[in-house]
């Protein structure tokens, strides 16, 4: 009896202690403090549900999408470039090339300051570019000759380039400016944990696993134009949970990738909310490795695959809202360079004829498709397999996790796979990213003519009209080469409350990240 009572008492104490330890210092419910976007008077708060948490507030070392969203808000870049090629100047007021061969650039900085009131100077800009050499985005600053580049004065940066590059201004647009003084004081940790902010917002609160709070940076040069005083970003990995939070009114904007949730919003099943699409963010392709494998050397084999798969039906039936058929073999480029090549026409008889011309009978040709278990890859591969079986081609499908397949891709051991090309406002940036030595051969063309054309397109500094012709020719040749089959265009997708104005212009076309300072009610 005594033992029973003692045990019961012990259990009750343990539960009481544990529950008491659960209470936090925040009062009340999950409701966001302050006024939300859906109705507020003096202090406007925007609540966002993202999928990945920042790994660091250091833009050089950060590896997550969530980090990019926050870093875009707290750090300023020199400028942004829109899909149509227009410049939105931020920390810089203007730039110009001062030599005919475009190897010297002078940047004129705006008179602006960090959140602590100290000025943003040319030294900060130069330091930031040098700092980026340490990180994953080093290729953006590879052309800068740091020995010859210098700060002419506090507001003027002179950059010497080892070679001209048509994508250089776009490269610089992606780089956030970091405080040199802060780095000198505390190194990577200081930049990552207690950043000095030159962007529209400052980092007011961040603990791993909790809501990130940004507050308006009153020292930002355009602070008066900001709609929101405070932004609260919650990072919830599980999309179902994120969507539930959005439906219950906990968020004003929620990042979505799931087809079901997008359809739910489009069907009006969530009152007071809608889907917000960005511009084309990336294009997904099926690619054949024509460099490391002899399998696809014969153009007839490639054509048999091109015309033996009903690409349009596959994309329409497997992908849903937010995904349109892609029609360019190269990139979701800037509007001025994108060429609509159409879709490879599904023609079973023609495909069989091409296979016969290549010297293969039914069932004699086979290859392996290696895909990552993500997006629609598995369903697309299965559908392709079925189509090619009718042509007489055996396609094995091998599925692995993303990291493993990525590593295999890097090692150029994949015969055929599904890859993505992210957008960029300058198509040469995408081509550079796709064709650089760091990229796998799966996405490259084993043809000298095309390769020369690619090199020319990437290094051309001609006017836009001339470059447009160049990119059109490139896309035509890539289309005819039949090693890259466009599947679908993806647009980054958000759920948004109806009180928010259209914010497609606030979604970065190349990365899909939100520019929080461009959000308006």
């Amino acid at each position: 009896m005594k033992l029973k009572k003692s045990l019961a008492l012990l259990l009750a104490c343990v539960m009481a202690m544990a529950l008491a330890a659960c209470s936090s210092d925040s009062s009340g419910s999950n409701a966001v403090s302050g006024d939300s976007a859906t109705g507020g008077e003096e202090s406007k708060t925007l609540r966002i549900g993202m999928d990945t948490e920042p790994t660091s507030m250091n833009p050089v070392l950060s590896t997550s999408g969530g980090g990019a969203v926050v870093n875009n808000a707290i750090y300023g870049c020199l400028w942004d470039i829109t899909c149509d090629g227009a410049y939105n100047y931020n920390l810089a007021e203007s730039y110009e090339y001062t030599t005919e061969d475009n190897t010297e650039m002078v940047i004129h900085l705006r008179d602006t300051s960090w959140d602590d009131g100290t000025p943003v100077t040319a030294d900060d800009v130069l330091f930031s570019f040098q700092y980026y050499i340490n990180g994953a985005n080093a290729y953006h600053v590879m052309n800068i000759d740091f020995d010859k580049s210098y700060a002419k004065d506090d507001q003027t940066v002179v950059l010497e380039l080892t070679q001209a590059s048509s994508t250089f201004t776009e490269d610089l647009a992606l780089l956030q400016i970091i405080s040199k003084d802060l780095y000198d004081e505390g190194g990577d940790d200081a930049v990552g944990l207690t950043p000095k902010c030159s962007g529209a917002y400052t980092l007011a609160q961040w603990s791993t696993g909790e809501t990130i709070v940004l507050e308006k940076n009153t020292n930002w040069w355009n602070a008066d134009q900001l709609t929101y005083d405070r932004i609260e970003i919650s990072c919830v990995t599980e999309e179902t949970t994120r969507m539930l939070e959005f439906e219950s009114g906990e968020y004003d904007i929620v990042y979505l990738t799931g087809k079901d949730n997008i359809e739910k919003l489009n069907n009006g099943e969530v009152s007071g909310a809608h889907v917000q699409y960005g511009d084309i963010q990336c294009i997904t392709y099926v690619s054949l490795n024509t460099i490391d494998f002899d399998t696809f050397q014969d153009i007839n084999v490639r054509k048999a695959i091109a015309y033996g798969v009903d690409w349009q039906t596959i994309v329409e039936s497997i992908c849903g809202d937010g995904y349109a058929m892609a029609t360019s073999p190269l990139f979701p480029a800037a509007n001025w360079a994108y060429k609509d090549e159409g879709v490879y026409e599904y023609n079973l008889d023609q495909a069989k004829q091409y296979l016969a011309d290549a010297g293969y009978g039914e069932g004699e040709f086979s290859f392996t498709m290696r895909i990552a278990d993500e997006d629609f890859n598995a369903e697309i591969a299965e559908a392709m397999q079925a189509c090619l079986a009718e042509v007489g081609i055996n396609m094995e499908v091998s599925v692995g996790d993303s990291a493993t397949v990525k590593e295999e891709n890097r090692s150029n051991t994949i015969q055929c796979g599904i890859s993505k090309n992210m957008g960029a406002n300058d198509p040469a940036g995408v081509i550079n990213a796709r064709m650089s030595s760091a990229k796998p051969n799966l996405t490259k063309f084993g043809d000298e003519t095309i390769q020369n054309l690619l090199d020319e397109a990437c290094t051309s500094t001609a006017d836009q009209a001339t470059r447009t012709e160049l990119f059109y020719e490139l896309q035509d040749k890539a289309w005819d080469y039949c090693s890259t089959f466009p599947l679908y265009e993806s647009k980054v997708t958000f759920g948004a409350v109806d009180s928010l104005a259209d914010f497609s212009n606030a979604i970065d076309a190349s990365s899909g990240y939100l520019h929080l300072n461009d959000l308006v009610e």
Partner: protein
């Protein structure tokens, strides 16, 4: 007894070493380089090689594992996260309290539900109560945890607005995760209690107790349950250990920044050093819980306690015998 405890604590060390070696070896021989993941898809081979050198990933297997153990013993550190660039120990320390809160409360709750159900089922064997309680317990155990979590979210958070959907902002946030974690082991606890009680209830001493005219309540609680406790404690100890190491699914769905969530995210991000640290901590918790369970046996059953102290007494006894023989 103290000697026994010390001995068991020392025995934990080879177990933990073994766990680290296994996990380290698996990580080491995977084809994916954490440096390649950190540097990103645009990194050149030279950048990746430089990062590997910086992180010490280019060194041979024995050097790497030796360095890891050396750092644990001399500096008390589990290394720095490749992704977050913060000490792994700090990351675990900031998340472990959430997991422990949920784990402890869930274990207590599952015991509070499972044990009485098991006793009821045993006492009223083959009655409708027995079948009903068995059905209820198995039902809770059969529902997959991700399903259970979503159902609880939809009903109690979305529909009824009784609790928050996710996060750990208030004490109410813990209720649904605790219930999710607690319901799974109820079936095991209930079944084990029922089985142990049935075995004990058939013993002669129970018949004797009834024959003596003791109230049924006394027979069940004082005589039967006490003697059926050992297997029940085993199951509860195991459940506590499992709950305290974090439920990956529950923490992910409810967005609880706990040990399970950290383990899951570190695996998907290929942050192997953090994965190793999490596994080591989880192994420590499990082995410690095993030790605690064994100690509770001694509290509950004097026969077991005497075995733990047997060595000392046996030594004394043999000396007495020798002394007697000598005489």
């Amino acid at each position: 007894m103290l000697r026994y405890i010390l001995k068991r604590l020392l025995m934990m060390i080879p177990v933990l070493v073994g766990v680290v070696v296994v996990v380290f070896t698996i990580n080491y021989f995977t084809s994916i380089s954490p440096a390649a993941v950190i540097c990103g898809s645009m990194a050149t081979d030279e950048q990746i090689a430089a990062k590997e050198q910086e992180l010490g990933l280019d060194k041979p297997y024995l050097v790497q594992i030796g360095t890891y153990f050396f750092n644990i013993i001399t500096k008390g550190t589990l290394g720095d996260s490749y992704i977050y660039k913060t000490p792994v120990l700090d990351m675990i320390a900031s998340r472990l309290p959430n997991t422990i809160r949920i784990g402890l409360c869930a274990s207590v709750l599952s015991a509070m539900i499972g044990i009485p159900l098991g006793i009821l089922a045993a006492v009223k064997q083959n009655s409708s109560l027995d079948y009903a309680s068995t059905f209820l317990a198995i039902l809770t155990g059969a529902i997959p945890s991700f399903c259970l979590c979503l159902l609880l979210q939809l009903l109690f958070a979305m529909k009824l607005h009784w609790f928050p959907i996710s996060g750990v902002k208030t004490w109410q946030s813990y209720i649904l995760p605790i219930v999710s974690v607690a319901l799974m082991p109820v079936a095991m606890t209930m079944r084990m209690t029922r089985s142990a009680m049935l075995e004990a209830i058939r013993q002669d001493y129970v018949r004797t107790a009834r024959a003596k005219g003791l109230p049924e309540k006394t027979v069940i609680w004082n005589h039967t349950l006490k003697n059926a406790l050992i297997p029940i404690i085993t199951v509860i100890g195991m459940n506590i250990g499992i709950s305290l190491t974090g439920s990956i699914i529950v923490e992910t769905i409810f967005n609880i920044p706990g040990l399970g969530f950290l383990m899951n995210s570190s695996i998907s991000q290929k942050d192997f050093i953090t994965t190793q640290g999490c596994v080591l901590v989880a192994a420590f918790i499990m082995t410690f819980m095993t030790l605690l369970t064994d100690l509770v046996y001694a509290v509950v059953d004097p026969r077991i306690k005497s075995q733990y102290t047997k060595g000392k007494k046996a030594g004394k006894k043999s000396k007495l015998i020798k002394g007697g023989d000598a005489a």
